[in-house]
Symmetry: C2
Subunit: 500 residues, 2 copies
């Protein structure tokens, strides 16, 4: 394959020279050719196979999987606690299904090769497949979670947990309900999960697309610039205001006065007091959309008070979020990190959850445009993995990657058959048991295997034990050994390994 590409590149250079192409261009292609040659070790004929996984992806080894399962368990337990069902959809969708849903980010979608038949793309998130599923099955009412991988041809930053293939854990509530009750539950869920995972202090920022749009209107942003100015605001978590302002005025042609008015609003963050203040704001309160948004925000904070979580929720006018499909409340959870020990302000280390209300998306799929209001949250699992992986590496904690309760071992030779018979008995009784795949393993090696893998018990068979109808049970941690009658062995292993 590489050799073939090399030949093609050489052919390209030859043709360019022949066609008298621009010397700069030719030089560039020659450089590329030399690079490819170097990669092939100068030997065109010999194929050098590259042993790697695709860019931006990773394998999960047993240790990573053990961490991953812990995180998934915490998240799934929470979703189930809130009465969610679970669904699954295919990893790819008709290309058309994804078209027109992601704005500028559409260029990051992975397409499948046209091999005849339908044109397909890998899913970019779980929200659009969910909306397609609802419309297709005419479901108007569901509370579901979905945990699966999604795909984005983005620039990977793997150490910070940004991959091209990554998990999303989504919880969504679809249906026509009284205002802000499902929305409040989504925030409660974020609060529960981030608390359970003990990732350190966090903050959930909340805003509403209607408040943003109303704010833009009263600041004098023309309707046609709402979305593009919104995407400038979205950069405020990574850029200082001055840069964002100059983007608005310079690149996007907003008047400096309008930008300055926005600048005043987006500094604001707070709780119920801020909502009340803005409801009194002479300009904002006159805007229908902003008023609706603020009144719903007030209701939301009332519910959050009942849930006892307002301490970690901040109404923040600078929160905008990128995706096009949001229509109401939006939110994003960030982890806070004490920057130093001098009590200075803590700074965000990145978003670990986000979501909002999208009342129009299902209607885009329905032949008759029937709408199904939806609100949901997506937990950004990869960044959480990265943090927990680093934490566990820093700590001394040894992670077990199996659950084996007992190793069936022997001290003497020629007891393979007896070991196999015993391990089979244990399996049939539901005991998690292993045996070394050696005819005559040394006892020391068998004990070492238990040390290495964290198996707590060893069941040792020997000539004498077989005669006496017993098995020697050894507790690895204490090296204590005791003879157990064979018929009591299962019970004793259960007793020894039951969680306290």
């Amino acid at each position: 394959m590489a050799a073939e590409a090399l030949r093609e590149q050489a052919e390209l250079v030859r043709r360019m020279k022949q066609d008298k192409a621009e010397p700069d261009m030719v030089a560039k292609e020659v450089a590329k050719l030399l690079e490819m040659k170097a990669e092939l070790g100068g030997d065109e004929g010999k194929h050098k196979f590259v042993l790697k996984n695709p860019k931006g992806t990773r394998d999960y080894g047993p240790k990573q999987m053990a961490i991953r399962e812990r995180v998934f368990n915490a998240i799934i337990t929470c979703f189930k606690r809130h009465g969610a069902e679970v669904i699954d959809t295919p990893v790819f969708e008709l290309k058309e299904t994804l078209t027109g849903k992601y704005g500028e980010d559409s260029k990051l979608i992975y397409d499948l090769k046209d091999q005849g038949g339908e044109l397909l793309s890998l899913r970019y998130d779980l929200t659009v497949p969910f909306a397609r599923y609802l419309a297709m099955n005419k479901i108007t009412n569901i509370k579901r979670y979905h945990i699966a991988k999604v795909y984005r041809r983005d620039n990977p930053a793997m150490t910070r947990g940004r991959y091209r293939e990554f998990y999303q854990c989504d919880f969504d509530i679809a249906g026509q309900f009284d205002p802000m009750i499902p929305d409040a539950e989504c925030l409660k869920i974020v609060h529960e999960i981030l608390s359970d995972l003990q990732l350190g202090d966090f903050l959930i920022k909340v805003n509403d697309r209607r408040i943003l749009d109303g704010m833009f209107a009263v600041c004098g942003v023309p309707d046609s610039k709402f979305r593009t100015i919104c995407s400038s605001v979205d950069k405020l978590d990574k850029m200082p205001w001055e840069e964002v302002r100059s983007e608005m005025v310079g690149e996007k042609g907003l008047s400096p006065e309008a930008a300055d008015r926005i600048g005043e609003y987006v500094q604001l963050h707070g709780g119920m007091d801020l909502i009340e203040q803005l409801l009194q704001d002479p300009k904002l309160s006159q805007n229908k959309m902003a008023k609706e948004g603020l009144e719903d925000m007030k209701l939301l904070f009332e519910y959050l008070t009942l849930f006892g979580i307002t301490g970690k929720v901040s109404f923040d006018l600078s929160l905008a979020r990128g995706l096009d499909y949001y229509t109401g409340v939006i939110y994003e959870a960030v982890l806070l990190q004490q920057q130093n020990n001098h009590g200075e302000e803590s700074v965000g280390v990145g978003s670990v959850a986000g979501g909002g209300r999208y009342d129009g998306l299902v209607g885009m799929f329905d032949p008759k445009g029937r709408k199904v209001p939806c609100v949901g949250v997506s937990i950004g699992i990869e960044r959480i993995f990265s943090i927990l992986e680093q934490k566990l590496e820093a700590s001394e904690e040894k992670i077990r990657t199996t659950e084996t309760q007992v190793l069936v071992a022997s001290a003497q030779k020629k007891l393979l058959e007896e070991r196999l018979k015993l391990v089979s008995e244990l399996w049939d009784a539901g005991i998690k048991a292993e045996v070394l795949y050696k005819k005559n393993p040394k006892l020391l090696n068998q004990l070492q295997y238990c040390e290495d893998t964290g198996i707590p018990l060893v069941a040792i068979v020997g000539e004498q034990e077989l005669k006496d109808g017993v098995v020697k049970l050894r507790i690895v941690a204490t090296r204590e050994e005791v003879n157990i009658r064979r018929e009591s062995l299962v019970e004793e292993i259960r007793r020894q390994t039951s969680q306290p």
Copy 2:
């Protein structure tokens, strides 16, 4: 999109006419054009969006997911009982990684579009990614399972559980061990899983590639025809011998005498007695490979006897299996179905598990060709789902799709806040609880919701209960109601919903 395709097709027809292309061809393209027009409802401008998921794939709704989770749990429990770790790999691999591993079936691989960067393909199975993972990480010793979706552009037969996207559940043991011990454990695992799932009677057929190759040699098959004759033998589970014979002789140019000799061998199936008989076979026992295979088969059956599972294992000389990479023992489990009630022979309804030994695959990825012997088994989950889905539909059993223990309800109006407060208390105590997202739901609707979704308990708050510091707990099944002090509610819900 469809309108665009239509325009392109019309342009094609126009050009063909202009170029005076063959009338037959033009007619074909015109027909295609008319078909596309009809699909668009005769209105070129109006886009008709097709609301469906890709061919050969399906969504899993909450009910299907409930069944799927039961099956996965049974399988994972078994894999963990045998001390397996778990890994995960990306859904796509470098195209090159899959090249040359699947023989003729390579045409079924899904490729990704070349969007710049690496050429990628969706994984076709979990075995090749596993081998790539071992070689890349220089792992020479692991027992792991991997449950994930794989992709094949095959003709789907969805009612029989054949999809283009489907799950594989793989368990493999890699490492240099004493002969046939891991191989026997794989068969024990198949036996345990199929017994646990209660799918009805089953049979595990076993053979060995070395016995097959030895048999071909002594029957007079030329070396160069081994693989192609092997793939003819592989069809014996779907075709009668006469057809397979005529394929061998007619299409593949084997001598009739050689075919007839094969015909005698492939009828044979049995247990230890057959192995002993073939070890005495004057021709077969003279062939080195066959002899090795038969001696290992004898050892395997000795171990299977210790595991107590020979009753469902049959040494079957007609078992061949399609994949190229097997090097030793191979096996396949089929479900048996009583054809009628007159005691006639039971017939297989298809393979639900298969696997074997592949000692050369990892070496194909290692730069120095270092081999890591492997043996494994793959559980064919989709067919098992289909069977269980049909079984459950036929039965009256109602499947719960949530685990909610209690619905927080109210009999009077204006108690939304009290309901939210209580449900939040329950969530914080780890109780699985729901509340209807209505300000003033009717009690009847709340009770109906419990009936519909199988929630066993209702916690009812009312003015009087609030004053008295109690909650009325209703058991949905018996309609029994009892006042519980608020501080004892969590405990009482746990007591009522704990599994007996």
